[in-house]
């Protein structure tokens, strides 16, 4: 499904954020990408969603080199990759419903389809009763669930979670993790970037460890080793 081939990102000769990273992720996998701050996790994710270009290397997603995509193909690629962030990235002046619908509106989806799809997503993340609330009125956990609903609205095959529990307390963190497992069980590949040791050690999934831009470990049922 996803293959990283010798991916390197240098900002200068002395600043190498990602250094010759190679690994594959198969369909339906749940992978935790771990490492301390500055290990290169977020840079790798930015490269994967084409927010940045690598200095060298390739990334194949569904056998397509994403760096060969033309400018006008990028929006369509990004719709196939759901992303959630530590800071949620919600629009504060819009309601829960409107935040999720927004992702469909920019894609030109008909209103009738939006009216059907958004409640389905909100139901999946357990927020069907909060659709008229503004994002400012939500707790951290609820905000992250809205982000997840928005990320899933195009039914992506890949969901990237970049430190999704970074701003959450332990209870909310586990709620989010449970939701991610649920999504993964339905067939979506989940790539979780985190430096939360407790979460990683408890989930018993494949763990790829990065340090100083390099992959130092890649284990099934791994633990947080750094």
């Amino acid at each position: 499904m996803i293959e990283f081939q010798h991916v390197t990102k240098k900002y200068s000769e002395s600043i190498i954020a990602v250094d010759d990273v190679n690994f594959k992720i198969a369909k339906g996998e749940f992978v935790a990408l771990v490492g301390p701050s500055g290990a290169g996790k977020s840079t790798l994710i930015k490269i994967l969603i084409r927010e940045e270009m690598p200095t060298s290397g390739r990334i194949l997603v569904a056998d397509r080199d994403i760096f060969q995509l033309r400018e006008r193909e990028l929006p369509y690629y990004r719709r196939k990759v759901g992303v959630i962030f530590q800071d949620f990235k919600l629009l504060s002046k819009k309601t829960v419903y409107e935040n999720v619908a927004f992702a469909l509106e920019v894609a030109g989806v008909f209103t009738s389809v939006i009216k059907k799809r958004v409640p389905e997503m909100l139901s999946l993340v357990g927020l069907e009763n909060r659709s008229n609330a503004f994002s400012e009125e939500l707790s951290g956990g609820e905000k992250q669930r809205v982000s997840i609903a928005r990320a899933l609205v195009h039914e992506p095959k890949l969901l990237i979670a970049d430190e999704p529990t970074g701003n959450l307390d332990p209870v909310n963190s586990w709620e989010i993790m449970e939701l991610l497992f649920k999504i993964n069980k339905q067939g979506t590949v989940v790539l979780l970037a985190t430096h939360n040791k407790e979460v990683v050690d408890a989930i018993n999934k494949r763990v790829i460890t990065m340090k100083d831009g390099k992959v130092v470990s890649d284990k099934e049922n791994g633990k947080y080793i750094i």
Binding site: R50, E71, V106
Partner: protein, 293 residues
């Protein structure tokens, strides 16, 4: 969304629109000046002719031969023979309100010379024909050639037109450049204010045109509003200036009032075109950095 953004930053929007209005007014003023001076020069050119005053000693056969020679030249469009009687009638018509002058010339005492009035295809060709007639074969028949006075006036008008065009173009370009930067910055500020929203738009897969469209509309709003206000100023000015200008340019050879009325519509059209292009171009430029990398 563009209208909301325009209203939210209304002081910035007002300043931006005022700069565009000023630019359009300057372009309009110079456009008008060029149009009117050009039209006046063209009209005067049509009135200019070369008058060949003939000697009293010339016979009718000599005059006829001279006329045929002049007529055969490719520069000559038409030629009219003015006899002494014709000249007398013209004199009497011109000074009909002054009895003394009118009666100064009579049929029995008519010093007015016969003449050939030559019209050329282009005004510039008059001097060519005049030079030809200064040839020793023809000059003995001719007492005087008259065209210098009108030619000087036309040359001055052409020179004024050229100066107005250069000065007008220079000032217009300067103000257009200023307007471009002002509109660009206004759109940039709006982009900055909505940067969070734009980031999310890109994240969820919005196309470049979807992201860009509201800002292009904002640029169009600046342009259209400026064009409407500037056009109103132009039309109000026309109503005030039409009569004084028409009286000042009386007898110039064309209907000044009608010409200005037609020109107003042309200049209004030009204003709308320039302001729309300005708004659209600046928005495109300002949004370039924020689109897909």
């Amino acid at each position: 969304m563009s209208v909301v953004s325009f209203w939210r930053n209304r002081w910035l929007s007002l300043a931006t629109t005022l700069i565009i209005i000023l630019t359009l007014i300057i372009i309009s003023i110079f456009s008008f000046m060029v149009l009117i001076v050009n039209k006046t020069a063209t009209s005067l050119r049509e009135k200019v002719d070369l008058v060949v005053y003939l000697k009293d000693s010339d016979s009718e056969e000599q005059i006829k031969a001279l006329r045929e020679i002049i007529e055969s030249r490719p520069e000559v469009e038409s030629i009219i023979y003015v006899s002494k009687t014709d000249a007398l009638l013209r004199w009497q018509a011109r000074y009909s309100s002054d009895e003394d002058l009118k009666n100064a010339v009579t049929e029995n005492d008519n010093p007015l010379p016969r003449s050939l009035e030559v019209k050329t295809v282009e005004a510039e060709q008059i001097s060519t024909v005049a030079e030809f007639l200064q040839n020793e074969d023809y000059s003995p028949l001719i007492s005087q050639l008259s065209y210098e006075k009108n030619k000087t006036l036309i040359d001055r008008l052409v020179s004024i037109t050229s100066f107005i065009k250069k000065a007008g173009s220079g000032l217009s370009i300067l103000f257009i450049i200023i307007s471009i930067f002002v509109v660009y910055n206004a759109v940039k500020i709006t982009i900055f204010a909505r940067s969070e929203e734009l980031e999310i738009m890109r994240l969820v897969g919005a196309t470049d045109s979807y992201v860009r469209l509201p800002f292009v509309f904002e640029g169009v709003i600046y342009g259209l509003l400026a064009a409407v206000v500037s056009s109103l100023i132009l039309i109000v000015s026309y109503n005030f200036l039409n009569l004084p200008l028409s009286n000042y340019l009386n007898n110039i050879g064309y209907n000044v009032s009608a010409f200005i009325r037609t020109s107003v519509f042309q200049v209004v059209g030009l204003q709308f075109l320039i302001s729309l292009l300005l708004g659209i171009f600046c928005s495109f430029w300002a949004t370039r950095e924020h689109l897909s990398k």
